[in-house]
Amino acid sequence: MDEITSTRHNPGLDPAMHIWGWEIPVYLFLGGLVAGLMVLAGYHILKARGQQERAAYPYAPMLGIILLSLGMNALFLDLANKINVWRLYLTFEPTSPMSWGSWILMLVYPALIAAAVLHPPERVPFGNRLLALVRTWSAWMQARPRLVQGIGIANLAGGIALGIYTGILLGAFGARPLWNSAILGPLFLFSGLSTAAALMHLLSMISQKGGASFADATLAGVFRLLNPDRGGHVMVRADASFLTIELGIIILWLIGLLTATAVHHQAAALLLGGPYTAAFWGGVIIAGILVPLVLQYLELAGRIRHTAIPAILVLIGGFVLRLVLVSAGQASHWS
């Protein structure tokens, strides 16, 4: 036997660590989503150099600003000592992912705002007078190709940094074996890209204006691999296989845990038969990845009607991924 009895009963730590509730998963989900939106927007700004009409993502940066602000509010709500939040911006701690993140968040706002001004939407629910003013700035910016290129690169780079950081934030905690993998960075980036593509698809369905089909954006790459003649547009193909790549990264992450030490095996067991199994396999893998992929395949093959269901499932799956990871990670430990 090996039995431990402790007199420690500190709130939030005993009997099991639970220091982060709903706020952190919401922040990580919205941060990843905005990262994906920035990458999509940046990519399309660069792709549409000199051809504004091809940049079919006018809502993405504006939506990004709103969603990122909501995410940062969730993060603020989680802080136990809110009055000191300004301390984040009095220092830069190079070994702290959270310090990197707080500065990255400050740097992505200007990139998002510049992208929003560069391609303003044709109409907005309110503020049309302001929109007219924005259009004059937009015309000024679009007359300067190097500036447009810079905004595209800033969004692309900022989006990648933001997306990877949300995963590294958890991956850097060596004391929590479930999280302690650098692969969480790419996982959260590709999950953010898939949820951003899903959101853009939903928006394009609502607005009936432009926007790449989400089905195209998620399966064209797979089609291209299976049958090059039936492949989608090369540019779409680059966006395409986010969900497939995300699934591949999840498998690699689980392999990494299962081939590591005993504490990593115990951490993996939380998802493989433990208390988080149903949420992980049901909510993330099946409902969030496999079912959308199958539905999109059937849609593209013309066997079922095109609907918003895959996009909605991907968004739900993206949130459940963060929820499960944050909760299960806290339950994993070294001892």
Binding site: D2, E3, H9, P11, A80, N81, R87, M98, F173, G174
Partner: protein
């Protein structure tokens, strides 16, 4: 530079929790929380099980993961003795250090900042022992500079078998348990 460490003789510790009470009194630890605690670990099989009673706390690690992850520099290594401390005025309560600590030695104080054992640095800098060490009725707790070969803790670590907690975590704890 001094490297302060604590050495606890598990052959003498009876788990009376005087160290816990002394710490709570000395440091005004809020009700329902503790900076140090008693652990009883039973290993082996009947009729030869082995019982170890330990007084545990922050290990003031050589490579403290709680310091590296702090986004504001609130968690830091003190100039004297390499003691790991939290500057309450800089702490934003993000709880990253709680997630980073493999010993779960930190907690969020009801006032919002993170709190933990300080090795009673306010006493040590005046030449006194930490409160927990000073009250131990079995004198199982020892404190001093492990870099000083003449110190009591250095001599004990040289002469007695000992272990630290979760060596595989690689943090280099500076609380040692004599066995």
């Amino acid at each position: 530079m001094a490297r302060l460490a604590m050495v606890i003789d598990t052959k003498l510790c009876v788990g009376c929790a005087d160290c816990v009470v002394a710490c709570k009194t000395e440091n005004d630890v809020p009700e329902g929380f503790c900076r140090d605690w008693i652990v009883e670990q039973v290993q082996g099989t009947y009729p030869t099980p082995r019982l170890e009673i330990r007084s545990e706390r922050c290990n003031h690690c050589e490579s403290p993961p709680c310091v590296g992850c702090c986004p504001t520099g609130a968690s830091h290594v003190h100039d004297y003795g390499g003691v790991v401390l939290v500057d309450h005025d800089k702490c934003i309560g993000c709880k990253a250090c709680l997630a980073a600590c493999p010993y779960d030695a930190r907690y969020v104080h009801p006032k919002g900042h993170v709190d933990k054992c300080t090795f009673c640095i306010h006493r040590v800098e005046k030449g006194q022992l930490p409160a927990c060490v000073s009250v131990c009725p079995t004198r199982c707790m020892h404190f001093g500079d492990v870099d000083d070969p003449e110190s009591e803790v250095a001599k004990l670590l040289r002469s007695r078998p000992h272990h630290d907690l979760l060596p595989s975590a690689g943090t280099g704890p500076r609380v040692f348990y004599l066995t």
